[in-house]
């Protein structure tokens, strides 16, 4: 954005259009089901196993070989501890120790060029109030062209996401309550609007941006 402000407008329209996309809708339903599973006491390992293939619903670039690697020791333990960090943070900003630990984990889990995007698409199911989807257009939209491709991009996106949700939580919550097609939290509303304005609008040429 080059320091300009991003205006959140026509939110209801954008959320409704997104809900028309089959993959996106399934992804949102899966995130809600995983939220229910967590509340019911499902283990982190079980929730991870469900989230890995569900991440394909929003075009995760990770092939099945990478998903299998993540589901096996020793990387499975890294995933479960990542989940624990975000469970404990509850969407709040991470402290310096946690940020460093998360960056180490991301480097190990996702050395491939698509690592940040693929990891975000799993964590956006498991910790939707803390982790947004991070495809390259979203990272570029938020961080700018140069920073979007750096190893720090994952944590930079987390910090922006946490701060922005806190800044406009009331408005986002109102949007979430008004959206009846799929259950969304305030943070998820921000994430879906970020997707729409950075990339998703291309699916809807008649929308007019």
């Amino acid at each position: 954005l080059n320091g300009t402000r991003w205006r959140l407008d026509r939110a209801a329209e954008k959320l409704n259009l997104r809900a028309e996309l089959p993959g996106a809708r399934l992804f949102d339903l899966a995130a809600d089901a995983l939220r229910t599973a967590r509340a019911a006491g499902a283990s982190r390992g079980d929730r991870l196993a469900l989230a890995l293939p569900a991440s394909w619903c929003v075009n995760s670039p990770a092939p099945s070989t990478v998903l299998r690697r993540w589901a096996l020791a020793p990387q499975r333990e890294v995933w479960e501890l990542l989940m624990e960090v975000f469970d404990e943070s509850g969407g709040a900003s991470l402290d310096a120790d946690s940020r460093r630990a998360v960056m180490s984990a991301i480097a190990v889990l996702g050395p491939e060029p698509y690592g940040v995007e693929a990891i975000s698409k799993v964590l956006a199911l498991l910790a939707p109030d803390a982790v947004p989807l991070m495809p390259s257009p979203a990272r570029t939209f938020v961080l700018g062209e140069s920073q979007a491709q750096t190893p720090d991009a994952f944590v930079a996106m987390l910090e922006w996401f946490s701060a922005t949700v806190g800044e406009v939580r009331l408005e986002l919550t109102a949007c979430a309550r008004g959206h009846t097609q799929v259950p969304l939290s305030a943070a998820q509303v921000l994430d879906r609007l970020l997707w729409f304005d950075s990339e998703g609008y291309r699916h809807f040429p008649s929308f007019g941006v």
């Binding site: 089959p22 993959g23 394909w56 099945s64 020793p74 946690s98």
Partner: protein, 93 residues
């Protein structure tokens, strides 16, 4: 804010995983290459069991030939593939 102990455990786990690397993952999967008989009468096709990009997996997995599947049966890639699902239109938006 996460407990410091959790962050420390995550750092240790990441360090351990970085040190172990892909070799341990392959070991945990068994032999580098196995064959299975997929349903719907498809011919046995080797399945890679190590990480993508290794020499072993490159050698073990032949190109998928769509002609080996009957018209009404899911193809091998639809049953087992990850990336191939994109091309099949089954994945994503």
């Amino acid at each position: 804010v996460p407990a410091r102990a959790t962050a420390e455990r995550l750092s240790r786990a990441a360090l351990f995983a970085a040190g172990v690397g892909a070799a341990a993952v392959v070991t945990s999967c068994g032999s580098p290459s196995v064959s299975v008989t997929p349903p719907y009468g498809l011919a046995p096709i080797p399945i890679e069991t190590d990480d993508a990009g290794s020499d072993a997996s490159d050698a073990a997995v032949p190109p998928v030939d769509a002609n080996t599947a009957s018209d009404d049966a899911p193809s091998f890639v639809a049953l087992y593939g990850g990336v191939a699902l994109v091309d099949g239109g089954l994945k994503g938006h």
